[in-house]
């Protein structure tokens, strides 16, 4: 019986410290403990269907769902901002008395029914996200006060008067289709990574039969699309300082996140604070890796490999029975580093840096997504369009590959990042090609930084720690100049 996926962590309790043990708990025990704490006898039932059904019915009447809105600003906020946002919140709830999407309602009901006593601990509010292997729901933490909330950065600093505003959590329901190993991996990594303000803390996790759920704090954040075009240099610096400090923490633990993208970095535009989340694809460095050519020193590599063929290939073999090169390619299209695309078998934490670079490019060019990359081939072409054949060849050679293309839009040298950014933001001056439009100091630094993130050689690419020392992330613009282009890009 798969007891591996019993509750990964018992949630530390305030009221019953003895109930907190490090061992793994079965869900039934967990609920039993919870019920006992409420002064009720823990039922000795093994089957909990009746109760589940009760919950099910309850929930039907209680239509507390809200419209899906990823960008909406909900608050689990400190007292200062409470009032304002509380109002917003209530308004929204009133408006959304009836859940809009019956499918979502049904889903929430089903989900809630899975866990006995769920409704006593959490009040499901809405579905806020959906991924390949999980769905994320927003819920109110009804028993917030009973537990040790050291993870809650806002709560620690806040001295509150009067009733506590509702506390929200994000409930990540992991689908049964994801492998147990993946689930365990994610929870373990999250546990290992606890203690960094920029990495999402794992509050608790539990399992009932094959349903696994992780409870994470709900972070108020704004959808990336809402603000990425209006970021000032200082905003960018703040954003990336937060992101890179999270990466630094993750990479120090020799963990590769593998899926760095704006959606997974919940950035609170107003508080200038971001949290890295979704470690569903994360892995420890060296997992499943084998020696790739890129791990050799340049000289060794030259010895081991034949010279890069200079002539173009006439064609490709028709029926190729050779095995395919295999490497972990997990990640999101458009954010994959070149070594991932070249199927490097010894990928490092540097692939996250590349993805972070893509975010920066997105912000600088004010285009989201920057890379469309409907598949890996397109991704390579897109990257090659920017970097040019020569550099792509060298990069491919690093991993023992030959890069060969006759696509006319891929030049030998590619384009400089400045050019691309200027072009993308319509700042190229009409006919005079030679006169560069002056970039602000901040932007220049950002581009330098971007170049370091976009180093095609993963070993020369900047590391997260180095990045934090880079002038760009230490940069502070004194006067926020009003760039006409910036204001233009603001969403309506």
């Amino acid at each position: 019986m798969p007891e591996d996926y019993v509750e990964e962590e018992e949630r530390p309790r305030k009221a019953h410290p003895q109930a907190h043990r490090n061992g793994r708990y079965e869900e039934s025990r967990y609920t039993a403990a919870a019920e006992r704490s409420r002064g009720r006898p823990a039922p000795s039932r093994t089957s909990s269907y009746e109760q589940e059904q009760e919950i099910y019915e309850d929930q039907t009447e209680d239509g507390s769902d809200q419209e899906e809105g990823e960008g909406s600003v909900y608050s689990d906020a400190p007292a200062e901002e409470e009032d304002e946002e509380e109002e917003e919140e209530e308004e929204e709830e009133k408006e959304e008395d009836y859940p809009t999407d019956p499918l979502v309602i049904e889903e929430l009901e089903k989900f809630q029914a899975t866990f006995r006593g769920f409704e006593k601990r959490f009040r499901l509010i809405n579905k806020i996200g959906e991924g390949t292997f999980s769905s994320v729901y927003k819920a109110e933490d009804l028993l917030y006060d009973r537990y040790d909330n050291s993870w809650d950065i806002d709560e620690v600093n806040t001295r509150r008067t009067g009733p506590r505003p509702p506390k929200y959590v994000a409930i990540k329901k992991i689908y049964v289709t994801s492998s147990p190993a993946r689930i365990q991996n994610e929870l373990e990594l999250l546990h290992d990574l606890s203690g960094c303000r920029s990495v999402v803390p794992l509050i608790t996790a539990f399992r009932h039969q094959d349903q696994v759920v992780a409870i994470l704090p709900y972070f108020q954040h704004v959808d990336f699309r809402e603000y990425f075009r209006s970021l000032t240099t200082n905003d960018m610096v703040a954003y990336f300082r937060s992101l890179f400090s999270a990466l630094s923490h993750v990479h120090r633990h020799k963990i590769i996140h593998r899926d760095i993208k704006p959606t997974n970095f919940l950035y609170d535009y107003h508080k200038r604070r971001g949290v890295l989340c979704d470690f569903g694809l994360a892995e420890r460095e060296g997992t499943d890796s084998s020696r790739c050519m890129c791990t050799y020193y340049a000289n060794d590599r030259k010895e081991r490999l034949p010279a890069i063929p200079t002539a173009l290939t006439p064609g490709y073999p028709k029926n190729d029975s050779r095995p395919a090169r295999r490497a972990n390619r997990a990640g999101t299209r458009g954010f994959r580093a070149p070594e991932v695309l070249f199927k490097c078998t010894a990928q490092t934490t540097k692939i996250d840096i590349w993805s972070a670079g893509v975010i920066l490019l997105t912000i600088l060019s004010k285009r989201f997504p920057f890379f469309n990359s409907s598949d890996d081939v397109d991704a390579v072409i897109e990257i090659a369009t920017i970097f040019g054949k020569t550099r792509m060849r060298n990069c491919a050679a690093l991993h023992g590959c030959v890069f060969d293309t006759t696509i006319p839009t891929i030049g030998d040298k590619g384009f400089t990042l400045e050019k691309i950014i200027l072009w993308a933001t319509n700042r190229t001056s009409g006919t005079k090609d030679d006169v560069p439009v002056v970039l602000s100091r901040g932007e220049q630094l950002a581009i330098q930084f971007l170049q370091r993130c976009f180093d095609l050689d993963p070993f020369r690419r900047i590391s997260a720690d180095e990045a934090l020392r880079h002038p760009f992330l230490r940069y502070c613009e004194d006067s926020e100049e009003e760039d006409p282009d910036l204001s233009m890009g603001l969403p309506v």
């Binding site: 009760e54 289709t177 147990p180």
Partner: protein, 762 residues
């Protein structure tokens, strides 16, 4: 009460060749078919078999029996001791009893061993490419080649009559061997019986000695040299029966072959096909040695061979591969050493102007949008999205048949174009797009009178030849449509992510979702099959994807046939949460009615939601407004079954919570494509996530997930093969439909040993 006990084979750490993996899908149904009396070898079957998720089969040359391909993998060391193990004909062997062997004795096998030394030499020196020639041995070699051919002929004829039995052979080797043996028309017996003609053993001492020896000594020696992996079996054998199989075999006059001998015989019969997986691991290492010993070898023979059978210095893996020549611009990324298949291959249709190319390139598009997608694609996307969102506003009215936006918008010309493109396969579509660009380029400047935006290519000094063909839409002119769209729709602009592949992706139906991560692989499992399943991108040559789709479809057909033929099984799919508890079920029904009521009460709202549904389902849904809307199918991939599915909802509906009282008749119709599979070899998929020993006793709580039904026989009372996966295990067992499981025993061992056992009692 009957018991079905299921024992997954021990999983070896070394990766076996793909074709031999027990659960390799293309292996499953076909290999067993060849056990008939037909002499004809069934390799061609295998080749034609749709190889879902598999690389193309490797065996190429075996269908032409006349050509003896130059051997590469024979080695001196291997053939050095043929007399010891492989001299079968020191004494005339007693003829197998039920075998009608063809007349004539084969050439002595020992000779052949020597022959092989030469062959090894041949291959080796060819790889070294020395060009010295001596003609001394030509005649001898000719003779030997003849011998080999005669020998081959003899054994080919004789093989179908052979009945093999494997004694104390590691599972892996046995599987390989039996596949090959069956290809040659012989049969393999699972149990020792008098039908057996050949016993294959690893107990080396036994094989060559045809004369009777005191069995005690033999046993003691075998004990000392025992392969640790075999200890168990041998102990079993000795404990269980009072007889030793080999003794018995000798008594019956069966032939006793060492594995090495079998390997050599097969090797000859398969004409040294390199892709034939060799049975003994020792050989593998020796292949490399061959090259080292190359210098000592006889060239004349090699040359002779070359004259007979063509050059041998081709890389066997690349050999006889014709090139597909490029016709248009391409991108080609391949392994420098050539050990693996090209990583990326794609060719694009030739175009006159580079802007017409369908590959991603910088396009001039309005601000904020992906620069690699053409503006009209963006527009089309937006329009599509509007199609979906517009009705929400006018939900009270019936939906007009025509697409209203096309009229509303000034860019009417986009609409037919978009329609034209919709639902076309990718390649076709991209070509279309190219032509479209051509057609439209003169129209464009008229349609937009805005400030033209220059492409990056123009900015670059190196490229200055082309004129402005693509005119960007000015940002300021972000049109009323844009604004209104932004208000009504969710902020994300994800549709832009699916640039050119609308045709082939199901994701368009769910275009409101964030681009999810892909290329996902479980971090701790490296299975050839799995990773091939996952990496389904079109970056590989050889159209695996197409095959797999058809296969899926076929599987599904079979499955649905089975299910419909069995009325007890086909139940509405709404029975998602299955519980055997009657009370619970009643409560569930009640809950559903309650829910139904509330939905009715909100009829209006429901209608609104209705119209948000994708336009393709519109008409059908109008009729069923009162019913609950069906969610869009959500395709995905199950890591546990390692299979793609079309709709997540259907997969999870297979969950049956309480196995102990599991009522099989209540299971749901098959949704995801099961495989037709008649073997229990599927078991090899067992995952190793051990349980604590204490769980062994807690039988009642085993939450198994009956994940799919796999029909193995299409009879009236179709017998499903059930593949269960719970956390940590994938198993299957056979049970007739309607079986009620009352008890599940689950034996499990520690992490070290990988043996797991699951016993269903019903």
């Amino acid at each position: 009460m009957a018991q079905v006990s299921v024992q997954p084979p021990a999983v070896s750490t070394r990766r076996a060749p793909l074709s031999n993996l027990p659960n390799a899908i293309n292996n499953a149904p076909y290999t067993r078919m060849s056990t008939s009396t037909a002499i004809k070898r069934s390799r061609s079957h295998q080749r034609d078999a749709p190889s879902y998720g598999q690389p193309p089969p490797k065996k190429q040359a075996i269908d032409v029996p006349a050509t003896l391909r130059t051997p590469v993998r024979r080695s001196r060391a291997d053939a050095g001791n043929p007399g010891k193990i492989a001299a079968p004909s020191k004494k005339p062997l007693p003829r197998p009893r039920n075998t009608a062997t063809t007349a004539g004795t084969p050439p002595a096998f020992a000779d052949f061993g020597q022959q092989q030394v030469r062959k090894a030499a041949l291959a080796a020196s060819i790889t070294v490419r020395t060009t010295t020639t001596t003609n001394n041995h030509t005649v001898v070699n000719e003779q030997q080649t003849e011998d080999v051919k005669a020998w081959q002929k003899h054994y080919r004829k004789a093989f179908p009559a052979y009945v093999f039995f494997f004694e104390a052979i590691p599972m892996e080797v046995m599987m390989k061997a039996s596949d090959q043996i069956q290809d040659l028309g012989a049969t393999c017996e699972k149990y020792f019986s008098s039908k057996v003609t050949h016993v294959i053993t690893t107990r080396v001492q036994w094989a060559p000695h045809e004369t009777a020896q005191p069995s005690t000594t033999a046993r003691s020696t075998s004990r000392t040299t025992a392969n640790p992996a075999l200890v168990d079996q041998r102990v079993d054998a000795r404990k269980g029966g009072r007889f030793d199989v080999l003794l018995k075999a000798r008594e019956y006059g069966m032939k006793i072959w060492a594995v090495e001998k079998l390997d050599r015989v097969l090797n000859v019969l398969f004409e040294f096909d390199i892709s034939r997986p060799c049975l003994t691991t020792a050989q593998r290492n020796q292949i490399t040695n061959t090259h080292i010993n190359a210098q000592h070898n006889d060239l004349s023979h090699i040359l002779k061979q070359e004259r007979l059978h063509g050059p041998a210095d081709r890389d066997p893996s690349v050999a006889s591969k014709e090139l597909q020549f490029w016709k248009g611009p391409y991108i080609y990324i391949y392994d420098m050493i050539g050990a693996t298949r090209p990583i990326i291959v794609r060719e694009y249709p030739k175009v006159q102007h580079r802007e017409e190319g369908t590959w991603p390139q910088f396009r001039s598009v309005s601000g904020g949008k992906c620069p690699f997608i053409e503006e009209h694609v963006h527009q089309r996307r937006e329009k599509d999205r509007m199609d979906k969102l517009e009705p929400a506003k006018v939900a009270e009215k019936e939906r007009p048949k025509e697409v209203p936006e096309a009229k509303v918008q000034s860019k009417a010309f986009v609409a037919p174009a978009a329609k034209m493109i919709e639902q076309k396969p990718r390649q076709v579509q991209s070509v279309k797009e190219a032509t479209m660009t051509k057609e439209r380029s003169p129209v464009k400047p008229k349609a937009y009178v805005g400030r033209s935006k220059r492409t990056l290519a123009e900015i670059s000094r190196s490229i200055n030849s082309r004129t402005t063909t693509a005119t960007g839409r000015p940002v300021a002119e972000a049109t009323a449509q844009d604004v209104s769209a932004r208000r009504t729709m969710r902020p994300e602009n994800t549709i832009a992510f699916t640039a050119t592949n609308e045709g082939n992706s199901q994701t368009t139906r769910r275009s409101n979702v964030e681009p999810a991560a892909s290329g996902v692989q479980p971090s701790n499992i490296t299975s050839a099959i799995r990773s091939q399943m996952v990496s389904s991108y079109l970056d590989q040559p050889g159209h695996r994807a197409g095959t797999s789709k058809e296969m899926h479809a076929l599987h599904r057909k079979v499955a649905s046939n089975v299910m419909t033929s069995n009325p007890t099984v086909s139940r509405p799919a709404s029975m998602a949460r299955r519980s055997t508890d009657l009370l619970a079920r009643a409560a569930e029904n009640e809950a559903r009615t309650v829910r139904g009521r509330t939905t009715d009460g909100r009829g209006k709202l429901a209608k609104v939601e209705e119209s948000v549904q994708s336009s393709t389902q519109r008409s059908s849904q109008e009729q069923v407004v009162q019913r609950r809307p069906k969610p869009d199918p959500k395709p995905g991939y199950c890591e546990n079954c390692r299979e793609k599915f079309d709709d997540f909802a259907e997969v999870i509906s297979f969950i049956l919570y309480e196995l102990p009282m599991l009522n099989m008749t209540a299971a749901h119709p098959i949704a995801s494509a099961p495989q037709v599979c008649g073997q229990q070899q599927k078991l090899g998929r067992a995952r190793q996530t051990p349980l604590r020993p204490s769980q062994t006793a807690q039988v009642r709580q085993v939450p198994l997930l009956i994940e799919k039904w796999i029909p193995i026989a299409l009879r009236d009372d179709s017998v499903p093969l059930i593949l269960c996966h719970s956390y940590g295990a994938v198993w299957c067992c056979m049970a007739p439909c309607g079986t009620k499981f009352s008890f599940v025993r689950y034996t499990h061992y520690s992490r070290g040993s990988r043996a797991q056992q699951l016993v269903f009692v019903y």
